[in-house]
């Protein structure tokens, strides 16, 4: 698999306002097994996400996609195997320290803090990296990227529509300029127009900032449209690991594991 050529120069309109934006990092899962006892949730999963690539993590409900992402963020313990981020084994590194190192996750269900305003949610996402004026301009960068949010700065999280919540969750994750972004089902329950908008933003982040993305999706068509590479999970095991183009065209594989 070939890494995308990356350009570290942050372009206008990607939400990057700070100088020296970080380029994407690599993420490697090496023989990852999660859950003890009879039926592990993940079994010997090895996935490589090269710098600046979008890798789609596909599979049915219950295939282990969410568990895999939660394990990478240390929300779920590893039974055996390694998670390597930019050449560093993350064993023993806590959730918040993984985030600070540049490993961001947008969990399933959009995870907006309902009691905080849009502005506060964004500042919360950015304040581990920026303070003061730089934080304010990073927040403005997200508003440039997601204009509907700019009109709702003072609205509480619970007042937002599903699409606005997903934009906010994504904006909040990228505001600190992560090096690897983990996304769990961003398209869930959203109108096709909003899904297209979110996928376009992911593509722009990859193209313009070299962001590395691991995208768990049930919406195979949308995911493969932006992905460079696709990994198919079935019952906790990797059953296919191919360039996205192959997965788009191989109807037998699609039919067997992706249901269409």
């Amino acid at each position: 698999m070939s890494a995308q050529p990356q350009s570290a120069s942050p372009a206008a309109g990607t939400g990057s306002t700070a100088t020296g934006a970080r380029a994407g990092g690599t993420l490697e899962l090496d023989g990852l097994t999660v859950g003890y006892g009879g039926a592990p949730v993940l079994r010997d999963v090895s996935i490589r996400v090269p710098a600046g690539a979008i890798v789609a993590l596909l599979g049915a409900n219950g295939a282990g996609k969410t568990t895999l992402l939660r394990t990478v963020s240390a929300l779920v313990p590893v039974a055996s195997g390694r998670i390597v981020f930019d050449g560093v084994d993350l064993a023993g590194v806590r959730v918040e320290d993984r985030a600070r190192a540049g490993l961001a996750q947008v969990p399933e269900g959009r995870s907006v803090v309902a009691e905080l305003t849009v502005d506060e949610n964004l500042r919360l996402g950015g304040l581990q990296r920026f303070r003061g004026r730089r934080l304010a301009s990073a927040v403005d960068g997200v508003y440039d990227l997601f204009e509907p949010l700019a009109r709702r700065r003072r609205a509480a999280g619970h007042q937002l529509s599903g699409g606005e919540r997903q934009m906010l969750a994504l904006g909040r994750a990228i505001i600190a300029e992560p090096r690897v972004l983990l996304l769990d089902e961003p398209s869930l329950g959203l109108a096709p127009r909003v899904v297209a908008q979110i996928m376009a933003v992911l593509r722009a982040l990859r193209d313009e900032r070299g962001l590395t993305v691991l995208l768990a999706e049930q919406n195979v068509t949308s995911a493969l449209a932006v992905a460079d590479h696709g990994v198919v999970l079935n019952l906790g095991e990797v059953v296919a690991d191919r360039p996205a183009e192959d997965l788009r065209t191989d109807s037998a594989l699609r039919h067997a594991y992706l249901g269409f």
Binding site: L75, V95, E96, D97, A99, S111, V113, L124, A176
Partner: protein, 292 residues
């Protein structure tokens, strides 16, 4: 009529102390989802420190500062030392540990200082100022009101205008999401305990000079009243603590003034029961009912 004005004014001053102490319960509830039954005993320890420091230095103000520091330290020690290890599976475990802390602290205070009440002097006179022939409230009551309002304003600023406040709120509402954003949630829980315990210590320090004196049980009734306040206002709601504190303060003052001091605790418990029956989430409950 004159009497009513006086009772209302002193009730507000007393209520401001209840509000502060209730606020300390609310802050810990929000940070750690524990009703800290040890808050009273912790605050009394800090008040003893103030008492000792004032005795040594002769300065009420150095004593006050040391109560804040001692209160914060108590919060740090109790959270890091025991509360952190409470199981979250049942809300009871935190409560039982807190009651254990109360027993330990009150016994230690009893051993160190004895059970007798020690008079504590207020920094200002406690006789009411008379305005146009009507006694209104004492300079000390005024001082209490100013300190309480000032501290609440400061806390509101910290929570709404600073990065620390934003992280404290986020950690309380959504700990997992906050961790995913790099917030050191465990540290925020500790910070919440330190802040809350300093506030509770100040409340006890303000109250004791208006009572019989300082002894290991000085804050027992304060805790009961403030717990009522927190429940009346809603354990999740700082504005609820403020309004609830004033309501309970005025209620106690009126009942004491018109019916006698022995009736006051019954009135407080009656209010607690009434609110629990009618609005179990508290009058200011926002989104969800309490789980404890």
């Amino acid at each position: 009529m004159d009497r009513l004005l006086f009772l209302l004014a002193t009730g507000l001053a007393r209520g401001a102390i209840f509000a502060l102490f209730a606020l300390s319960l609310v802050l810990i509830w929000r940070a750690a989802r524990v009703v800290n039954f040890a808050q009273g005993a912790m605050a009394v320890v800090a008040t003893y420190v103030a008492f000792a420091v004032t005795g040594l230095t002769g300065s009420y103000w150095i004593g006050l500062a040391s109560a804040l520091v001692a209160g914060g330290l108590m919060g740090l020690i109790v959270e890091r030392g025991v509360m952190r290890f409470a199981s979250h599976a049942s809300p009871l475990s935190g409560v039982i540990i807190a009651i254990g802390v109360v027993m330990v602290l009150q016994s230690l205070l009893g051993i160190a200082f004895g059970p007798n009440a020690r008079p504590m002097e207020a920094p200002f006179p406690e006789t009411p100022i008379v305005l146009g022939g009507v006694p209104v409230l004492s300079p000390y009551d005024l001082f209490v009101l100013v300190v309480a309002i000032g501290l609440m304003g400061l806390l509101a600023l910290i929570f709404t205008r600073t990065s620390l406040g934003l992280q404290l709120r986020a950690s309380a509402f959504a700990p997992e999401v906050s961790r995913l954003l790099g917030v050191r949630v465990a540290r925020m829980v500790t910070a919440g305990w330190v802040l809350a315990s300093a506030v509770g210590a100040l409340a006890a320090l303000l109250l004791v000079p208006t009572e019989l004196g300082l002894n290991p049980h000085s804050a027992d009734m304060l805790f009961v009243s403030a717990f009522t306040v927190a429940v009346v206002g809603g354990l999740d709601s700082p504005p609820g603590a403020l309004v609830g504190g004033l309501v309970v303060g005025v209620l106690i003052s009126l009942v004491t003034g018109y019916l006698g001091a022995t009736v006051a605790p019954i009135a407080v418990l009656g209010l607690l029961v009434a609110v629990l029956l009618v609005r179990p989430g508290g009058l200011f409950a926002a989104t969800e009912a309490r789980t404890a």
